[in-house]
Every structure is written in C-alpha cells, then in structure tokens.
Symmetry: C2
Subunit: 224 residues, 2 copies
C-alpha cells in the first residue's frame, strides 16, 4: 500500500480506529457493501468527509456500489498496523495496569503484552492475565533481550519520570501513558498516546455545570 504519510492529518488518524470499529460491526452483521453516506451516518459526519478521509489511503470505493466492507476493514486494519503485535510491557501492576493488561489481551491485535513489572513486594510474583508480575529491577534486562517496542505507564506521576528514562535508555520510543508525566516535553523523539482519565472527568463536570448554568438563566429569563 503506497500513500503519502505526510498528508495524513492528526484528526484523520483519530478517526481511523472508529472507521475500523464500525466496519468490524458491519462485518459481524454480514453487511457486504457500505456507501460513504451510510458510513458518514455511523461516524456522525458527512459523506464527503468520509470520501476525503479514505482517499488519503488510496481508492477503495466503487461508484454506485460503495465500499466492500471486508476489503475496507482489512485495508484500514493494515494501515493501522493491526496484526503487528508489537511487544509491549506494562509498568505498574495496580488497578490501571491490571485493567489495561486485560484490555490488550481481550480486545486488540495491535500489541503483544510480554511482561508486567512492579516494584512492590506484594505484587511481584502475582499473576495478571497469565503473566507473572516481574520485579522492576529487571526492566532494562528484559526489555533489551525481548526487543520491546512499547512501554505502558501505569505508575503514579512521581514514578513516571524515572521509569520513562529507564525505558528510553534501552531504546523504547513509544508509550501508552496513563500517568500525568509529560513524556514528549523531555523526549520529543517519542510516540506517545496519553490517556488522561481525570481530564476527561473534569471536561464532563464542566459541561454538566455549564448546562446547569444555562438552565438557571433560562428559568430566570422565563420568570421575568
């Protein structure tokens, strides 16, 4: 597949996993063809946006027929790197670490979770999704030997800086980051996906509050 990487804007990348998800669902329902209009409805966007997005990656659609669900799903999967199973390690075997281990095991074909590390005696040796939690002291040795590509940071902010440095020093350049440590500020040559659960909660809280304020204003206006 030949396509111009430099052309792909970040919002398109954000949308690709959603396309993939919707196409998977259509495939499960044995839908054979899908039009850009139908995809647009699922994605809650316009047909022309869908065509523009998919054009970034080459021509999949046929005029009057639309897209073949199976082909398009497979192509987008290939573009996303699904099936690559990049070797990843989780650092931090607490609640978030355990949840993400399950997440990777059950629902993605992007990464292969090869180890989980923790520095707490109470966690080392316990079993999470079939993996025995290892001592963080072995982090560098293991990652070098196993050619790990990706670090998943499920440690508190205070520990994240040290763990990131250690992973970076053994050549790891991609991170799934649940800590609040800003990896890219110090390591601009890394690929980072941040998941800030608190930010998401705060954004929801903000919108509830705004809604309340709007209702109150409306009530005041009506009582005038």
């Amino acid at each position: 597949m030949v396509y111009k990487r430099e052309k792909i804007a970040s919002p398109v990348i954000r949308r690709l996993p959603r396309y993939y998800r919707f196409l998977q669902e259509l495939e499960r329902r044995d839908v054979v063809n899908v039009s850009s209009g139908e995809l647009a409805e699922l994605m809650r966007t316009t047909a022309s946006q869908v065509r523009q997005d998919l054009n970034c990656f080459g021509e999949f659609g046929q005029h009057g027929i639309g897209y073949r669900v199976e082909t398009l799903r497979a192509e987008i999967g290939k573009i996303l790197g699904i099936g690559e199973y990049y070797p990843a390690v989780i650092v931090g075997a607490g609640n978030i670490g355990t949840t993400m281990a399950n997440q990777i095991l059950c629902t993605t074909e992007c990464f292969n979770l090869v180890a989980i590390f923790d520095n707490s005696e109470s966690k080392i040796g316990s079993v999470v999704t079939g993996l025995t939690v290892r001592n963080s002291a072995e982090l560098e040795d293991f990652c070098t030997k196993t050619k790990v590509t990706t670090g998943i940071l499920c440690v508190p902010r205070e520990a994240a800086e040290e763990i990131t440095a250690r992973l970076y020093n053994v050549g790891i350049r991609s991170f799934w980051n649940f800590s609040h440590y800003d990896i890219m500020a110090k390591y601009p040559d890394t690929l980072v996906e941040n998941v800030h659960l608190n930010d998401s909660l705060m954004a929801l809280c903000f919108r509830i509050k705004q809604n309340e304020l709007a209702s109150m204003e409306e009530a005041q206006d009506n009582s005038k």
Copy 2:
C-alpha cells in the same frame, strides 16, 4: 463569574483540565505567580494562545506580573465545576469499573460516587472502594431516590444500550462512557465523555507502523 458560554470552543474546554493540573502542580511547589509564557511552556503552546484561552473566562492576569497561581487555579476549578461532587453511579463492577471507582475516589473532586451496580451474582455484595456492589435490578429505584446526575458505563457494548436507556429513562443526562456504544447517536440531548481505550491503542499502533515504514524508506534511499 460571568462569561459567554457560547464563545467557548471545544479545544479550549479540552485544555482547561490541563491548565488546572499544571496550576495544581505549581501551587504544590509554592510558586506564587506565573506568566503566560511559563504556562505556555508547560502546555506546549504559545503565550498568546494561553492569554486567548484564559480571556474566554474573564481577566485574571496582570500586566508585568502574570497570573496569581492560587487565584487562577481556584477560578479554573470553579469554571470546571470542581467541588460540585455530582452524584454518579458506575454500572459494571469488572476491571474497568473497579479502576474508575478508585480513580474517582482518589483523584477528583468533580463527582461523588454513590453506588456501583452489576448483574453478576459473583460481584453483587462484594465491596469496591468502600461501596457494596448493588444488583442492577435496583438501578432505577436507586437513581431516582438519590438524584443521580451521571452514569459511568463500564459494561460491554452489548449491555450498554439497555443500561443507557434505563438510566436515561430516570432522567440521567450525563455519561462517562467506556463502552463502544454511541450514546449521542440515540440521545442527542445527553452530555457524553467517551473513553475509547482501544482507539487510543490503535492510534499508537498506527504511529509506530508509520515510523517503521519511514525508517525503511530512509534506509532504502540511503542504499541507492
């Protein structure tokens, strides 16, 4: 605080929790004043962007001095609705549900987690963050009596549709959604924050793959 709600663009809302986080950190480090330039560096944006963002909410800064960290943190907190403690319930006491219960308990002042529900006999009656997991059959009764504002969906896609309908029917209009069910497609009058962990993983996978392809092309170019 008077400000024009309709003016606030979604990217600004996204940035507010990050401002809040950085200001909290500055406050912990006893920093008294901060300039828009310093804030910009933390946010990895420009000083004029910072000033523009904060202007949406009124004037906090003083020329030549900058912003008072404590005041600005408190004001942004008020805007975000921090301290409101909206009553929320979690549905689904699995890994994700348990993790989010901890998350809410330990790290936010936005929501007050008042109950956790599950429909599995093995989970009902167990204790999560001090709350006894309730039978989902009691969902409507409980939410009506307790005036719950927010539902946190930690159930699989298949269950999410039914649970959303039941919560919606007792007046719940805001959701923190970990399922892949598209709540807003059916209920456009709701406030929804989606957390799609898989999409985030797939986006990371895509970027690793793109990076690999770029390195391969570079190697080919060099060998010519």
